[in-house]
Amino acid sequence: MLALDFVAAIGRLLLGACTASGRLALFALSGLSHIVRPPFYGRMFLRALVEIGYFSLPVVALTAVFTGMVLALQSSTGLARFSADSAVASLVVLSVTRELGPVLAGLMVAGRVGAAIAAEIGTMRVTDQIDALSTLSTNPMKYLVAPRLLAGLIALPLLVVVADILGVLGGFIIAVVKLGFNTETYIVNTLNFVQADDVISGLAKAAVFGVLITLMGCYQGYNSRGGAQGVGAATTSAVVAASVLILAFDYVLTELFFAR
């Protein structure tokens, strides 16, 4: 009997996971398809774009600068053993554009924006505002979800462009000011090593992360139940799920882009 219980428990868990991911996939498909089907809510899109893109600038910028700085510092210590100081420039620019720019920006935005979206839509759900939208000839998926998904898709790559520039700048400042690198050599090394592919792959990742963050925020908020506690739980799940998905997709996308 005990063994059977154990199998049943695993089965329940598996079925639950399948149901949840199926629901999420349907939700994502529906939300994304509303992006291309009229009517469009430009006002909602602009609001989301400003909220996700513009207001995330400070936190993403700070994250990027410090990451670039610490990268230069750490790698110079490590690489000095191989007397390859010049490799610092390439290491900073490649790590930032390929990995750290999109991933760290994504994680920061997940904390900021994913939580805010889940809380706002969750509150709308528990106060009947989503039902009210339906009774006023407005599809909530179209009005609430689609504009946010689109804004995430567009805002994150733009944020990562900023993060890339500031990250490299942070590394440059430390290398030149603290480690005494030659300014021109560092710049030449940076430009020589970075290729369009590195930057583009980072931006593509960012676009995917942008959809993941807004999707998890919308999904958790949309399905929240039971008042303040439900909204709190939805907010937590949105941030956790988005963060884990960002790291998982980062691996998958890196495989796709570079493992040939």
Partner: protein, 258 residues
């Protein structure tokens, strides 16, 4: 009876969530331009019934006819068109707190592209005056309003698109008795002026008699009594009597614990 087609006709409407049967074969007719009040204890299925008619919840079985059209058998576009003709006042207003009051009121009109934003603003001021609010209220945020004012704005939003059918979910709950009477008065005025058909859910017997032409009582997912709203207090039905007079002892046993 068969002379006039009822505006809303429900037959055998059933819905269960998991094991719990919430609606158990509801039959109900609401005549055009009349008001039906539905009373019943908490958890008797009143809200689910209204949400089924609104299309927010899909019933398991049964039919919902509006103007003789079986709503559940229509395609999506048709259903949305029918639904666009129903206004709803939610229990706690459910105003969009990210939008100013005027945009809340004009929301349905803007969504149906029936006016521009500038016209929507004027229209909102007009509708706000119908519920006794100054046009300047339109520039406030919903969070700045008192409970009674939120109800009025909710009512204004529900009637702005001149719907044929209006639903009210506990319109006087949470208001003081005077404000409750004022809201009831506004509801009756609006329904009569527009000639709408109305369904109201309420626990408030005074409110039920002020708003309703007819009344029905829902208990455990079934309609156990239907009659004129004026007979609510003198129905001679022991269950209705117990409910309307708020007696603790009677045929209805509150399930406090299972």
């Amino acid at each position: 009876m068969s002379a006039a087609l009822p505006k809303i006709r429900l037959r055998g409407l059933s819905k269960s969530f998991g094991d719990k049967l919430v609606l158990d074969g509801i039959d109900l007719d609401v005549a055009a331009s009349s008001s039906m009040v539905i009373i019943g204890g908490s958890g008797s299925g009143k809200s689910v019934l209204i949400k089924c008619i609104l299309g927010l919840i899909e019933p398991d079985s049964g039919t919902i006819e509006i103007d003789g059209v079986d709503v559940l058998r229509q395609d999506r576009g048709k259903r949305e068109a029918i639904r666009g003709n129903i206004g709803m006042l939610f229990q706690n207003g459910a105003l969009f707190d990210s939008l100013p009051v005027w945009e809340n009121v004009a929301f349905g009109l803007l969504a149906q592209n029936r006016c521009t934003r500038a016209q929507g603003r004027e229209k909102a001021a007009e509708v706000l005056s119908q519920v006794g609010l100054a046009a300047s209220v339109g520039d406030l945020q919903p969070s700045e309003l008192s409970g009674g004012m939120q109800k009025r704005v909710g009512l204004a939003r529900a009637i702005a698109a001149q719907p044929d059918i209006l639903f009210f979910d506990e319109p006087t709950t949470g208001l003081d008795p005077i404000m409750g009477a004022v809201i009831d008065g506004l509801i009756v005025d609006c329904v009569k002026r527009m000639g709408s058909t109305a369904i109201a859910i309420t626990h408030d017997m005074l409110s039920a008699q002020r708003i309703g032409d007819r009344a029905a009582m829902l208990h455990k997912g079934r309609i156990i009594w239907e009659g004129a709203a004026s007979e609510l207090m003198t129905s001679d039905n022991p269950m209705v009597d117990q409910f309307t007079h708020g007696r603790r002892e009677g045929p209805i046993q509150m399930e406090l614990r299972k």
